[in-house]
Structures are given as C-alpha cells and as structure tokens.
Subunit: 339 residues, 2 copies
C-alpha cells in the first residue's frame, strides 16, 4: 500500500513551520511485519504542545527525542490492518504512540498501546476522554487535590488540558480562576465552563487582577504555560500553596529552557510546593480517570471542545495553530485516506 | 540597668559587615514593662543565615523585615528578670524571637516564646536541640521522608541544619551524599557523620561526581544552598525525585533573588517535586522532634557541633562568619554580661 509520511527535516527554531517537515510517499507491505508487531491504519492524531519539545532533540534522558528524517512522533488512534501479535486482530481499534503516517508498524509493549472500548468512538478516545483530560484529572486529583474553598488558578485555561482541570477543580469545591488569551476564550470559561473568574492575559495585568480577585493568595496553581504567568503566581501564592507543573507552553518555541521561579525564598518562606507530573505516572488508574470524566461529561458537569481538522497533508500547519491561539479545544488531525 | 544594643544602621550590600551596625547603650528599667510583658536577660543568640534576608528589607509579606535603627532581630535564649505575665516568673529560662541586646522586653504570644525544660541547658536548647536541628528533622521526616535505599543528597552538609538532615537520612535508611566546601568538612562528614560520600564543591566538579556516585540519579535533594548546586541537582534528579528547599544561602548576600530551576521541563518530565518549608509549619510537633533528636544524640547516632563565640561586641563579625565558611557547626554568640 502507498504510505504518506511527514518526516522532520530540520529542528525548528521558534515556531515550527511546514518547511521543517517533508512529505514523502513510499510503499508499506504487510510482508514487512515481524512477530509481535501490528500494521495499523492511522485515523486521528492528537496535536500535543509537548511534541514541540521532542522536536528540539535536546540531550535529556527524560525527554523523547524526535529523530531527524523520521516520521513525526504523535499520539494516534487507528485500527489494526494486519497482526502478528496473538492478542490483536484486524479491525481492533487502538490508541498508541504513533507517527505522522497513513500506515505504520507498531509493537505493543509496556503500555504504549491501549484498546478503545466498544462503546467509545476514536474521537472520544482522543478528545474528551483522551490524554489531555486524563492528564488534567491526575494533576488535580493526585498532585494537588483542593480543599473546599481553595482558590485554584489555572493557566492555559481555555486549552484542552486546562479547561478540564479548571472544571474538575470547580466540581471538587474550589473557587476557580482561569487565565486565557482573549475575551472570547474568557467568556467561554465564565459562561460555559462556569469558572468563578477569568483573566485575559493579553488585555489585563495578571498581577493586578490576582490581587483584586484573591487578596489572600492562590492556594493551587495548575500551570500549563510558565513564563511570566508562573512568576506572577509564585509571587501571589498563599502560604503552603501548591503549584502543579503540567506544561510550560510559553517557552516551547524558545531556544532557551523554561525558567522556574526567580525567587526561591518565596518558595521557602511560603512553604510552597512545586510539582511536575506526567499522565504516565498514573497508568494503573486510567480506567478510573476515563470513568469519572465520562460520567461528569454525560451529566454536563465538564464540557470539552474538540477542534478537528481533516487532511493529512496539512498536519504541520495544523500543529502550528497550537501556539498561535488559533485552536479551540483539543486539536485533532483526521487522516483522509480513501479506504 | 545599662543595656547594649546592636542596631541595623544600613541595609548591607553583599556580605554584612560590622559597619552596617551600630553599638549603642541606653537604660532599660523594669518600670517600662507593660502588662503581659517580660523583661529578659539574653544569654545566647543563634546566628541563622536567613537573618541576612531579614536585613534586606524586601517588601515581601512572607518575610520578616528588620527595621533600620532597631536592634537586630535574632533567635535568642535567656532568662526572665521581671515579669508582668501571669504564666512566667523571674528565673524562668526561655528561648524566643529576640534581638541583639543585653536585655529586652518581650510579649509572649503565638508561640514566639518557649520554655526550656529543666533538664536542658540553654546551649542545648539553642544548639543540638534548637531551631536548626528541628528544621532538619521536619524537612526530612515531613517534607521528604526517604524510602530505604533512596539516594539523599544534602547541600551545606557540614552546616548546622545540613549535618543533622544528612544523619537523619542515614538513620532512616537512605544512602547519603553530602556537599560541603573543603576537604576538612568532607572528612568530618565521612568519618564523624558516617555519610556514604562527600563532594567538596570547592575542589571537585559536582556534576561529574554526581554522575559517578549515583548514575541512576538523586531521589531526594535537601537543599540549603541553591545556585549552581541546585541546578546540578535538578539535572541529576531521578524520576519522581523530591527537592526540599530549606535555604538558599548561596544567594543571601546577592542583591538579586535566589533563582530556581532553569529547566522546568525537567521538573515536568521527571515528575519532580520541589517543596519549601519552615520549622514553624510544624510547631505542634516540636516535642516529638526534640525527643527523637535527643535520643539519637544520646546514642551517638546523630552528632552535632556547636561553634560558640563569647562576646556581645563581636556579634556582627561573628555573624559574617556564617557566609565565609569559617564556622564549624551551629554558630552561637554568648552574651558576656557580668551578672
């Protein structure tokens, strides 16, 4: 079968552009399959901001490194076409750590492949019940669960992960302030997500707004953004406040690294906790996360937006939308293979 | 009675020098006492590195600010001379938040005054069982208790707080690496404190030594120093490693603030926790801390050095020794009043 692939050609400086990638076509045959492997047809890719970090190829043992000249790695959903693995059959629907290709060969090992339940669409598995909402769920419930009345501040609050985190905080009894860019996103946070307040960082002074919204300080800061918003939050944390470091999107397109707090003595004197985490720390609890998210969403208590873009050939351009604020919710690429 | 006081005259830039202080003498009378107050005779002052932060007078609601023209605030021990408080009588021995004065008036409130047990000397109460070892105890047992086999790295390990933290980690089953300046201190850490390894940051490359001592990374970093050692540790933490931020002495004499990690994505991808704390977060557990420290010390399992300097008039010069590595253990000033 003919197989399109988007290869990473050059490591991007700043915002990744389509010119950093190369679209190639080759042949892929089920004869290439080895024992224990699956040939899958990709249907959906998740555009996750952290993929930008993979592209940088920094020597860092904790970080996946995207090889140059290879198809761009991406969380994917699709179905089995051929199987040389006893546990999988053609037609099985899966999510996995894939790559920007029409078809690819994967080897299930160590939790990199998950089955999609019969009553769930691939879109649900990648969107409302996918990696981002699961990440939000674990960050809130495991890293910094709220006490009733806590002030929870969420940055990137209109994003896929942030919006879910903010709404879970609301459900668990916190008073929630979302930070997002632009009045439209802030209005969505207030009206649809029913947060207590929203700060438009593009048009408002975050520090001033924090002072007036919560003079006693922030108890929990769920950070997807980093940079200036992180500094403002550190300076405005209440004693024994907790900062959940989920992402640092503000710096992903810089060649520099994402800087942490510039005043560690506030961390000491405020008895502040700063904690990074990955969804994969909680793999054994994914069923719980999916179950609770599903229930909340069915009852309308957590809303989720997906922004689905059709067309494999636009993948690099769609990905760039993550960083210019042009996406509205979980950004998915739908692969347009004629089957 | 004649009363000497060391007033802070100017906010120091860099290392505090005796020229930043002024020695004055005045009269203090028990007639100045108001209801609820005590007139105490100061016997011992603890030189605590964080007092340097108080001197900076930064506007920071979490930070005690030393007023200019007032006697330098300091943790102190002494005895009651006159009392207008029903719970205290002349001769009662206390530790308290005092100031560099022969005599002073204090008002017991909110845990700022503690009684010294009958079987304890003032020196014990300020040294081996005092604020620094208590701080170490809570940092280890409450903020980042070890699992057996954990690698615990301690900076400022030959200091008053660090040495106690390092030994408690050893007692609780961790493999302990101390960082200190100079071969003499490192030898003391190995031979007397029985740590597993010591790194002399003045003569060795901390990053290289960490790589060879613990190729699988550091599980717990108890940080008293900050700066380059903190950066090296962040880059060398094992997954789900924990950093206890106890102090950041490397930057106390800078006009700049103490900078945190320069690479927050390591914090995310490593699921690293960074947590500041104060001894005062655990006031209700002080008896437990003192009891266990005392038992460990009586059995020789935790050793403690005090460096006691006699003479009120040398207080500012003695304090400066905290920052040039010239102190050996808890630095105390003994007040030389002829009684």
């Amino acid at each position: 079968m003919r197989n399109r692939q988007w290869l990473l050609k050059t490591r991007p400086h700043g915002l990744p552009s389509p010119g950093d990638f190369e679209l190639v076509e080759s042949e892929l045959s089920s004869r290439d399959l080895k024992d224990g492997e699956l040939l899958v047809r990709n249907r959906l890719f998740l555009c996750a901001p952290t993929m930008r970090n993979w592209m940088s190829g920094q020597a860092n043992s904790l970080f996946p490194v995207q090889p140059l000249g290879r198809p761009m790695m991406a969380p994917a959903a699709g179905e089995v076409v051929h199987s040389k693995h006893a546990a999988y059959r053609p037609g099985d629907r899966l999510t996995y750590f894939g790559s920007w290709s029409d078809y690819e060969i994967i080897a299930p090992a160590g939790g990199n492949v998950s089955r999609v339940a019969d009553d769930m669409s691939l879109t649900e598995a990648m969107g409302p019940l996918g990696l981002n909402p699961q990440t939000a769920y674990f960050g809130v419930t495991r890293v910094a669960p709220p006490k009733p009345g806590d002030v929870a501040l969420v940055s990137g609050a209109a994003g896929s992960t942030g919006a879910t985190a903010a709404q879970i905080y609301r459900l668990l009894g916190a008073r929630v302030i979302g930070v997002a860019g632009g009045s439209e996103k802030c209005e969505w946070l207030l009206k649809t997500c029913r947060l207590d307040a929203a700060i438009d960082y593009k048009n408002e002074n975050v520090r001033d707004r924090l002072k007036s919204l919560c003079p006693d300080g922030v108890n929990i800061f769920f950070d997807n953004v980093g940079g200036d918003i992180l500094q403002a939050a550190v300076d405005h944390m209440a004693r024994r406040g907790r900062i959940v470091v989920c992402g640092q999107i503000a710096s992903y397109n810089d060649d520099a690294t994402a800087e942490g707090p510039r005043n560690m003595m506030r961390v000491v004197y405020g008895s502040i906790r700063i904690e990074g985490f990955l969804r994969s720390d909680y793999l054994e609890h994914v069923c719980e996360a999916v179950g609770r998210l599903r229930e909340w969403m069915a009852r309308g208590e957590v809303v989720h937006r997906i922004d689905i873009r059709r067309g494999f050939s636009a993948a690099p351009a769609v990905f760039a939308d993550l960083f210019n604020g042009r996406n509205a919710g979980t950004l998915l690429i739908e692969v347009d293979i004629k089957s």
